[in-house]
Each structure stands twice: as C-alpha cells, then as structure tokens.
Symmetry: C2
Subunit: 543 residues, 2 copies
C-alpha cells in the first residue's frame, strides 16, 4: 500500500510513525514544504528569546533518523501542488531544484497545517511571522539587530513572541485590535494578563488596529506611531486548505477541511488531520478551528489507525490551551462566557481566587479561576484560570472532568492529591464544586460583576463585609461596610437598610460574602453574594 502524507510536523509525522508501527510493509512518503520535519513548533518563540539555546533541540527528528527508525521517505523543501483524485497521484515540486514529480497513493493524508494571517495593511510585507524553523531563524536574526519591536496580535503566539523579545532586551509594543489579549479568556480574566504585560514593560495597545507598517515604526488607527525596528504579525492562522479545495474536497465556511468521524474527507481515499481541518466542538457541537499541537498529534495517530482498518469514532474537541508569560499561567478549556452569551445559551458563572497550595505553606500564590456551568444539567461548559502557579493542574483536572462528564457540583467530591506544598485539603477545584453545589441547592444566590451597577441603579443596597482596613484600601462605589463578624450584632442596622431594597453582599473573593448571605438568610433577609468578590469586580471593571 502506498501512503502519501502532506505535512511533516505534528499530525503528519504522528500519522507516519504510527502507520509504520502498524504496517511494516507499506510504502510511506512524507512531503514537507519547509526544510524540517517534526520540529518543535511550540518551542520556536523560546528559541527566539534565548530560553532554548540549542537550535538542534528544536529539530526533534531529521529525515535520516526517520528513515533509519521507521523506514519512511521524507521529502523536505517539497511542495504538494495538486491532487489528481482519479489517478490517485499528487504532484510535488522540489523547491530546491524546481523538479516536479508525481507520487502515487492508495491513501492520502492531508496534514498541511495552517498559515499565518497577513492582513492587508500597507507595509505588511515587512512583518515577520513565526510558524516554522526558517521563520524562527529570520526572527532571531532580526531581533539581534533591533532595539524596538511591535507585535501585532495578542493571541497565544503574539504573547509568547512579545515575552521572548523582552527577554532578548527589546523594547516591545503589543497591539491588539480588540479590547483584550487572549480571546479565549473573558475580559475580567484577561486583566491580570494585561497587568503582567505592563509590569514587564510591554507597551500594550488594546482596541487599536495597525494601519501602516513603516521601515522603523508602525502607525495605529488612533495615529499613535510606535518605534518598531522589527514587526511581528501574530494575528492568527488560517487552515492551509487550498490544496484540498483545489482538489474539490469539501471545506467548511471557516476554511477548515471537512472530515467525518473517521477523519475522512469527502474523498474516501483521502484523510485529513491537524490545524487544517474543521473540528467538532465538544460543548456546542459547532465546527471550529482548534490549531493545537495535541489535537494534531492525536488526529494523526487516529488516521493511522483508520487506514489500518479501525473505526475511530467521533472525538469532539475541548480546545484546552495554556500560555505562560512573565511568570503567569493563563489557561482555558471549553466555552467562555462571551461565546455562551453570544450564542444565547444559558449558563452560570463562578469566580474564585484560591491559592495554588495551602496558604500556611511558604510560596503560596493566588490564582483567578472561573467555571461556566449549564444551569439545567449542571454540566461543565468551560473554565479559565490565571495565576503564577498551579493553574495548569486545575484546568487539566477540569478538562478531564468534562471528558468524563463529571457534573460541576461533583467537582466537590474529586479526590485530588493533597499535601501542603501541592494543594489544599479543599482543592481549588473542590471549592468550585462547593460553590456550584450551593447554587444548585439554592443555598447561595450570586450576582456577577457586570450586573452590579445595574442592580445598584435599581435600588439594591450593597454591603461590604470585609474589614474596615480592606474597605478603606478600596471599595465599590455605594458600598456600606459592615464586617461579617459584626453582622449578627448589627442586624437591626442591616434590616433597616434592607427595607424595600434588594441586599447584595460582597467581600474580597466571595467566601466571607457567602457566610454573610447565610447569616442574613437565617434572619430572613435574602441577599445575593457578589461572585468572586471585590477582586473579580475590580478586574472586570478595569478590563
């Protein structure tokens, strides 16, 4: 059997190696348009920043090593030009010699990946992108000559590039056309990321598009001109599906190649995987683009299984992702609130600010966690986390819970490994479950940060149950300070305030606010707790 694979990085090489492990006899040929295969694409920004100093470390495999281990023929610097679906051939061009040839296939695997979006800005040809080893060499070389840089785009790659250019000693501006970086985060969760960027000296421009790229500057829509010896475009990527489209294979409106549950395209002899394909969203069932290495690797493996006869079944994607920057971790899984709201889908949101491990053990740091839950089924719809440490673990646990269809309130029962250096007896994930359970059983009612102003406008009374010192250090406009431990003795005062008004309670993060609401409930004063407390409100209103 002749198998041709277009693309020699994550999906393509996973498919190739697994195919060989499943079939020692098949002829397997990998066609890669860049000069390298199996390179560490997620590591590229860190080579630019000098975190990874050995360039060879990026090159996980060479064509020679792959031949020796797996007896796979790898053609690098070779571009697939056209597929002849009737003849079962692919025409490829050797980009070094210009020579064209045809490769026969019994099965064809498309794993071409995605290409950086280049918006039609005057001067865009000056902008560098970061997608492969050649890009990395160019960016590292340019960074050595430059003193200033502008990074266009505040997504995962944009942030990683910005961080690494700062590491290189450049003065870096980050320009993002929307109001926040990291679109998968909701705005109040992006605030700590904005803070980290600014603290690290990044000149952050939000809600502002680049209108022109000059020789040593970029101009923004608000006429700001930023010094930029170096410009990096990291606006996003789009599926590299032209070859598939030209061959008449079905593509989704979002540009991704359409595949069925067996990763088969509209041609039964052609499979596709990785960043180039449209995926089935695990939460809402829509066709989405999820250009992530882990998904690409897994799909590559699955295609090999399928070609060798196994029914592989539908694998919807959660899109779990993380980025580290300036000592902060920001991670997400599933849907965010923006998307749920846009879709008109009901949800409840829970914000907490736990520490990564027991507060009494040295080195504990605070993180922000957010959980989104289906209010009818209690299913977890998504989660977000931002903090210096331990966010990766909690998002991974929640992603696993989502895969196992663990309900939000059952997060309370998860048995997670606890010792003081690693967690808390009530882990942050358990705490999310406790809060959810209180909402499910109506032991708690909450109000979100973005609903507070309107509630106050409608006459709600806001009681801040923190200490007088905390209140003095910064309070929500209109709040009245009655510390939680004084509530019982000052109940007449509260009762007078509550007369004819809704009562809303808040503390720093929501814990004392919950206790206060329960005390008030015990005195027949219904109250809502500000979810996530002052901290979430402050992050949201500053966002």
């Amino acid at each position: 059997m002749d198998i041709v694979i277009i693309g020699g990085v994550a999906a393509g090489m996973s498919a190739a190696a697994r195919l060989r492990r499943l079939d020692e006899q098949a002829s397997i040929t990998v066609v890669e348009k860049s000069g390298h295969i199996s390179f560490a694409n997620c590591g590229l920004p860190y080579y630019v920043g000098g975190v990874i100093t050995d360039r060879d470390a990026l090159l996980l495999q060479t064509p020679e090593a792959i031949k020796a281990r797996f007896n796979i023929d790898v053609l690098v610097n070779t571009r697939a030009e056209a597929i002849d679906r009737t003849a079962h051939t692919v025409t490829v061009t050797d980009l070094t010699t210009g020579a064209a040839r045809r490769l026969h296939y019994d099965r064809l695997v498309l794993a071409p990946g995605a290409t950086p979006v280049r918006p039609p800005i005057p001067g865009i040809e000056r902008a560098l992108t970061l997608r492969n080893v050649e890009d990395t060499d160019a960016l590292a070389a340019a960074a050595q000559q430059a003193r200033t840089a502008a990074v266009i785009g505040g997504g995962f790659i944009g942030l990683e590039v910005a961080e690494n250019l700062v590491r290189r000693g450049l003065r870096v501006a980050l320009v993002e056309a929307t109001d926040q970086v990291l679109a998968p985060l909701d705005p109040e969760m992006a605030t700590p990321v904005h803070d980290a960027l600014r603290s690290a000296g990044v000149d952050l421009h939000l809600g502002c598009a680049v209108t022109a790229i000059g020789d040593h500057d970029v101009t923004l829509a608000d006429q700001t001109v930023l010094d930029a010896d170096l410009v990096v475009a990291a606006i996003g990527v789009r599926p590299d599906s032209q070859l598939a489209r030209d061959a008449g294979l079905e593509c989704a409106p979002n540009g991704g190649i359409v595949v069925d549950r067996n990763l088969t395209t509209s041609d039964p002899h052609i499979y596709a995987a990785g960043d180039a394909v449209a995926k089935h969203d695990a939460v809402d069932g829509s066709l989405v683009l999820v250009p992530l290495a882990q998904t690409a690797n897994l799909q590559g493996r699955r295609i090999a299984d399928r070609i060798m006869g196994r029914e592989i079944g539908d694998r919807p994607v959660l899109g779990t992702a993380i980025v580290g920057l300036f000592g902060l971790q920001a991670a997400t899984v599933g849907c965010n609130e923006k998307r749920l709201r846009a879709a008109g889908r009901p949800y409840r949101a829970i914000h907490t600010h736990p520490t990564d491990h027991a507060g009494y053990y040295p080195g504990a740091t605070q993180m922000a966690l957010k959980l989104l839950v289906d209010p009818y089924t209690d299913a977890i719809l998504g989660a977000q986390g931002v903090g210096p440490k331990g966010v990766d673990k909690r998002i991974d646990v929640i992603a696993t819970a989502m895969t196992g269809h663990v309900m939000a309130s059952d997060l309370a029962e998860l048995e997670l490994a606890y010792a003081p250096p690693f967690g808390s007896a009530k882990d942050p994930v358990n705490m999310l479950g406790f809060v959810d359970e209180n909402l499910v059983t109506a032991k708690a009612r909450t109000i979100q940060w973005h609903q507070l102003a309107q509630a106050q406008d409608s006459g709600a009374v806001l009681i801040d149950v923190r200490s007088p010192a905390e209140f003095a250090a910064g309070a929500i406009p209109g709040a009245i300070n009655i510390p939680v431990d004084e509530l019982r003795e000052r109940m007449d005062e509260v009762r007078a305030l509550a007369e004819g008004h809704e009562v809303i309670v808040h503390c720093a993060v929501g814990v004392r606010g919950h206790v206060a609401c329960r005390i008030l409930a015990g005195h027949d004063i219904p109250a809502r707790n500000l979810d996530g407390g002052y901290k979430t409100w402050a992050a949201g209103t500053r966002a």
Copy 2:
C-alpha cells in the same frame, strides 16, 4: 436543635461551619481534647523543619474567631468521656480544671480522628509522635536539643518528619520494618524514594524492626544500634473509635466506626466522619481506613448536609495521596499492584518514564508513572507516580478520570493544557492511554520486570535495542544488543536467535522497545516488550 461535635479539626470543624451556614439558629458545640482547633495538621512536620516559621500560621482558627464568625461554642482541652444514647447526652471533662459536665444533643457528630500507633517496644514511652500542635511543640523543642534522630516508620508522616529533621541539621536514621517505604507504592516505584532519602544523608534501614529504644539510641532486630537523641514513632495511626465502641456503636474489624451511605452510625442520631470511620473503597468495595485530610473535610461537610435533611449518597474513596521529600514527589491513587495481586484480581500494569514537560524546554525532569488497569473492562484501578515535578498533576488527572469512569485507553484522548513549559503535546497521561490502547488492541504485548528472570530461565531471548553506549553503561544479564535502527538489516540474526525461543525486547523506558516489537511483528517474529524498559527493571530488581 442541639448539635454536639466531638473533634475540632478537619471533619469536625468542616461539619460545624457548614452546619452554621445551613442553620443560623441551631446550637452547635465543638468538643476538642487538644488545646487547638482547625490546626494545620498536614503542616506540622514543616514547622518542625523550619519551613513554616510562624507558629500562628498553623492555627487556622481560634475558638474566639469561630465564635465571632460562626457563633459556634468551642470547648478545647475537653475530652468526651461517654455517650448516653438514651438520654442523648455526652459527658465531657475539662482537662484543665477536671470539671465534668453533660452536653445534650439532638444530633451528635463523631470526628475524633486517629491516634498514632505505639508498638510495644521497650522504651516506646521515649518516642515522640506527631499528631497535634502540642506534639509539634514537643518535637520542635526536642529537635533543638538533639544531634541525632531515629524515625520509626516509612509512611507519609515518617518521611515528612525525617525530611524536616534533616532540614533542622540532625543526623537522621529511618527504620522501616517492611522492605520499602511508602506502602501505597509498589516496590519498583519506591526505589527512587529510597535513593532520594539516601542521597539526602538519611540512614535508611529497611526490613528491620526496632526492638528497643534506649536513652540515646535505638536497637534494631539485626542488633544494629543507631544513635538517636530523639526518637519519633510514625508507624501509623488507628481510628480513635473507643468512645463509639464504648457507646455500643458498630465498628469494623479494622477499628473504624461503621457508617452508612449517609455517614450515619448504627445510632440514627449519631454521625461520624474523618479518620475515625471505615470508608468504602472505590476500586474493590472493601471497608478501608483512609486517614486523609481531604476526605475528612468532605465528610464533615456532608454530615452537615445530612443533618439538614439532604440525602448525600455513597461516596467511595480513591485515597489519592502525595508526599514531597527532598525535591521528589511521590503520589498514588487507587489500588497498587501488591494489593491487586494479594486479592487475586486480574490487572495489567503499565510503566512509563516521561518528562514533566517538553524535553527541549529547559528544566524538564523525568518521572516514573505506573498505571494499573482491569484487563476485562479497561477500567483504571490505580496509578502511582514518582519524580521531581508534575507528578501531582498527572495523579490528579488520573484520579479525576477514575471518578469520571474514563477508561484507561481513553486517557489517550484527554485534552490537557499544553505549552512547552507545562507539558508535552502528548502528555504523560496521554502516553499511558496510548500504551494501554496498544495492549487492548493487541498491538503490543509486554512482560513485567518481575517476570523477566523466569522467562529467561524458560529460554526466552532478550534483545536490548538501545545504543551500544547505553548497553555498555549497564545491561540486563543475558541481553543481546541490537540497536532498534539496525533491526531491519540484521533481521536474519534476529531470526536465528528467535528460532525455538520466545523473543523479549527492551530499551531504556519502553518506547524504542515498542517500535522494535512492531518491526519484528512485521517480519513475523512475535515479541514481548519489557514494560518500562531497563529503568523499571533496574528499579525493581534493586528494590
């Protein structure tokens, strides 16, 4: 309603605080025999070691603070003497004044915890234990006077105490009567822990009981005499169920108080939670003792729910646990191989040695992971991990998968947050799933380290597919070195070796061995791969 709670630490105080949040009017009284409530019992060893320097940090709550916040009456230094189940009273003694009184209850919660086991060794009265704040003060004071210490018992507490006494500058011997520390680990997984202890200068005595404790030494069964100005007994704990037993409440053969799915004892007005109760094991359904803080806290919370009328349902326990020592993490969940074997329960074992994050990103460290799987259902039965970093995360993910009934081969599909500083595109947990899937689909067959010698005795040929350099640095007796990349060209040689013999293949950790087995399978030579490779074999045979 009068509620009396015996025990004011994890389970007791969780129950008390939750009860108040659910009922503002109930009378809630907590009886605690030590001088402190809600203390950080898991943090105690770290105060002894000077990691936690502020003693007040251990005291998470005071009776005064609990009264102010929750209107709960806390009686410290007060011992519950007897329960009169007919009169619904508990007799308690104030240990400071000696005064006795009776407390009426409508509902009684037993959360007395566990007490350290003190074996009948001559001199045992000299041994200190570590269970509460008073113990900690005594141990910290003794450590200041001592130059040498012997810790008896290699469980979680014993190891934490040993580490912290080393931190204090003491010369420490650790004596464990069985052949390994950390009984929840299988022997090959305990080896790295033994190595870490020895590297840190701990004088480790395994398989050797203490026969006598002298004034400044301890004597072992093999006549070894160890200097020990200070002796700590950390042999284990037993449920503090005497009060319950005296009151005629049902207790299990293991000493734990028996409770039903609603945490109710054999008396419907009396509930019990925490280290004192027998728990329902999530894997094999047996009644087990799981003296862990997280379970205690959760059960306390659940009792409050139950007293307030909620059906809480059965919550079997996985017993997820972790310990950190000398920069190593050792964590477990579910059953280990020893227990499965003793129970005669079929299982398959998988050993891997992945890095905590992408190998090309600086700071990656190797861990050992082990997964135990039901061969008929593919259900996960347990997991163990040992390594410098990232073990906590993987065990938490597997514990969550077990709770969500994610099958072992489906670990392959988990979408875990990946960026090079945090994981790998194929996370260690995914890799366990890949290996399991290969076993399920018969794409791989493995042999365990402890089965190898017998297979070789029965004539099996062992091929080491590592590089000649690796082979030269240390090899398994009888192994023949044919590097994986030379297998295809040396197939005649392999075929000659295989003639009339079973073929077993191994590499360093199992990955190249798997590739080699697949190559051999493609040439009609069936072979088994040594699970976990040389590394697991070496750890097991050294154990």
